[in-house]
Amino acid sequence: MQHSWVTNGCRELVDLLSRYGSVEEVGNAYLVKVRAEDLPEVANELQWGLGGYYSTSVGADFRPIDGTYKLYHIFSVPQCSRYVVTQASLPPSLPKAPSITPVIPGANWGEREVRDMVGIEFEGHPEPKRLVLPHNWPEGIHPLRKDFPYDRKLIIEGVDDEVEHVDELARKYQVVPIGPYHPALHEPEYFELYVDGEVVVEARYKGFMVHRGIEKVAESRMTLNQVPFIAERICGICGFTHSCCYCQAVESALRIEVPERAKYVRTILLEIERIHSHLLWMGVALHVLGFDTGFMAYWRIREPVMRLAEELTGNRKTYGANVVGGVRWDIREDHVEKALRILRRVREECVALTEKVLKIKEVVSRMKGVGYLSREDARRICVVGPTARASGLDIDVRRDHPYAAYGELDFRVPVRDEGDVLARFLVRYEEVLESVSIVEQALQNLPKTPLINEDYEVVPLRIGVGATEAPRGEDVHLVVTGLGNKVYRWRPRAPSYNNIPATLYMLKGAYLADAPIIIASIDPCFSCTDHCLVIDVRSGSSRFVSFRELVRGGYRG
């Protein structure tokens, strides 16, 4: 009775949540205000009791507003088609919350990032080390606090010597570094593999080396409608999904109705992005396995898709299409024809090529049984996307939390139980075919409505959660709208953020030669995962590079 405004969704979920605090429905999410000490219990109930999936943690400095810190944990509850955002207010004097990592190991990174960036301490965290900030960053300075200006210059003394720390494991085995630049993926990352013979005994990851300060910049000096353009630059491949996710978060926060046609266009572009991303990955996977002919062949198939995206949006990367309230460019009738033709060809060639590739012995033998991730581990580390689906977790945001036009289209979610690299390859392959079919359906059923709804008002301090299924998995954005057409807090969480910790599990017991394909198999996007502030200088000291300096750097060319 007290929840009569709850329109649909799980009674059970609402009952559970209302035991801990007041529940509010925001778009496709429930916002529940809980006490900090209840967090582990709530997390346990949601993840293990109800069968939900932990997504991420967000910290926010609300001191200018109500004098507290806010800590959000986001959970996806697929069977209710709802996200759950738990909000805990922490006192400004000593922001402290019990850690949920002991309950959900997958929360490890999320909490550590909150600790680094906002300065909320987590009690009982099993690994209370820095994640994002370098080791020699001064204590007590947290970049995402509101009293830290975005263009503040911070000269840091000393050298980050965390890796110098030598433990027994390193003494016993050979340490093989992969990185700071991955030989095949060409992205900044650093894996430390402890190798016995050529077998990996243990692996460690150090990332967040190229933080770009996107969140801070967006919160500080961009307007609500400019953020989509920086959001899509979080990733070089799945940019559209980020801008879409952001727009959905804002739309849900501000209760903006998006026109039907815009939803369809978004769907089409999202799926085109998935097709080219998966084809790219399949090519790269073959390159990592040394089979360059297959690599070139997949990219040959991918090229028409890129050209199609270029025709539809004016940019090979579908950049610049999304704004809050809709999309900016329409799909013309003649494009529909052309797109259908290209998609047909892509499907045919992809099927033929994959059949050929799967007959190549050495390629298959190097994927089969390699990089095994069990269903239980996948669940505990909260992996998402094809990595999860290849380990038997049947989750897909498109189906579980229908957004854009997915609710009206017919598609299948491929799931496999093998949990190895080959399964991930096959899941992606099947997804390409599904995506082709989704785009075809969407193109054929484009509704005739306006493209964009710009008739909305920016109400400050509304919370919205946006989620999309990026090619690599669930992409979650949390937005708190701000005063003056701005964003108060925006936290994008890319899928690789949840998937990278899984590689450490997969690497154990693998051959060193298989490490690159295992790392590549989650289709990691290190630049998605890193998005903050520290840029490294050759002198060996790290410093905070202000936005202005970046501007000047740009001029220097």
Binding site: P177, P183, V288, A297, I360, R366, Y511, A515
Partner: protein
Amino acid sequence: MMDAAPLLNVLIKYWLPFIAINVVIPALLAPLLDGIERRVRARIQCRRGPPILQTWYDLVKLFRKGAVTGGPIIFRLAPYIAFTVSILTLSLIPTLLNASLSFLGDTIVFMYLLAVPSVIISIGSIYTGSPLASVGSCREVSLWMAYELVFALSVATLAIDRSSLLLRNILPPYPPLHPSTILAIAIIAFLTYAEGGRLPYEIPEAEPELAGGIVLEYGGAELGLVKYALLVKRITLSTLLIDLILPRTWLTSILRSKMWFLGIGQVVVSATYISLLVILSITYSAIEALYGRLRLDQALSVLKKSVIIAGVAVLAALMGY
């Protein structure tokens, strides 16, 4: 008027110039063949591919660069030694002309010299302590051990058959061609492919895995030399295979009896040699384009199987087949 025959005799007596030609021309040809191979691979991948001379351009570019690292002396010297030895190896087998430094047991010396470049570069690479270069070097020598076993058994097969370890005697013409000889030549053909560091066996360098592996630490002119040494090694291996199947003396003698004028037989043989080299390059690179990389243990298992085949060949040769 000067008679041609005595001149020729003099030249044959002083065969050193011949050997020089035999060494220099294939060495110059090696990067060119690589250019062809790159082109062929590109075409199979539906790419346009670089110009044929690209490998030469690359090498020249590398030679003009200074070294980046000042590593230990053995590391710095290894490329020079490797390159010298790979050139020396060429002098032991007939290439363009039918002349070589020939002495008893030269087959063994040939095998040893063929191995020296990778051994010395492995030592140099591990010496630097670079993890990926060390792993690459260990892979290189692990593979080499297995190759050596197969190679030794096949050479033993041929040597048993001809009762000689003189390379000249092992090469054709073969009086009766035994099945064991054919098997051994087939195995050597496989080895010339695999030992050339071609794709399913291009494990020590493995760019996506080890970022260049064994040659990772080298740069500039030294890298150029290492790469050149590998190219020369490839052409040496191809030459070995061609020598095993091309009946030079027979061809020359036939042509000498038919054509009266000077040297035409030699010209034909040389032309055949070069065209066989090109054909072999095209075939090898086409095969290479169609394979992925094996893991070291998988590659060694394949080689273990070929050890068994080579063993069968030796046993057959011992029984007189």
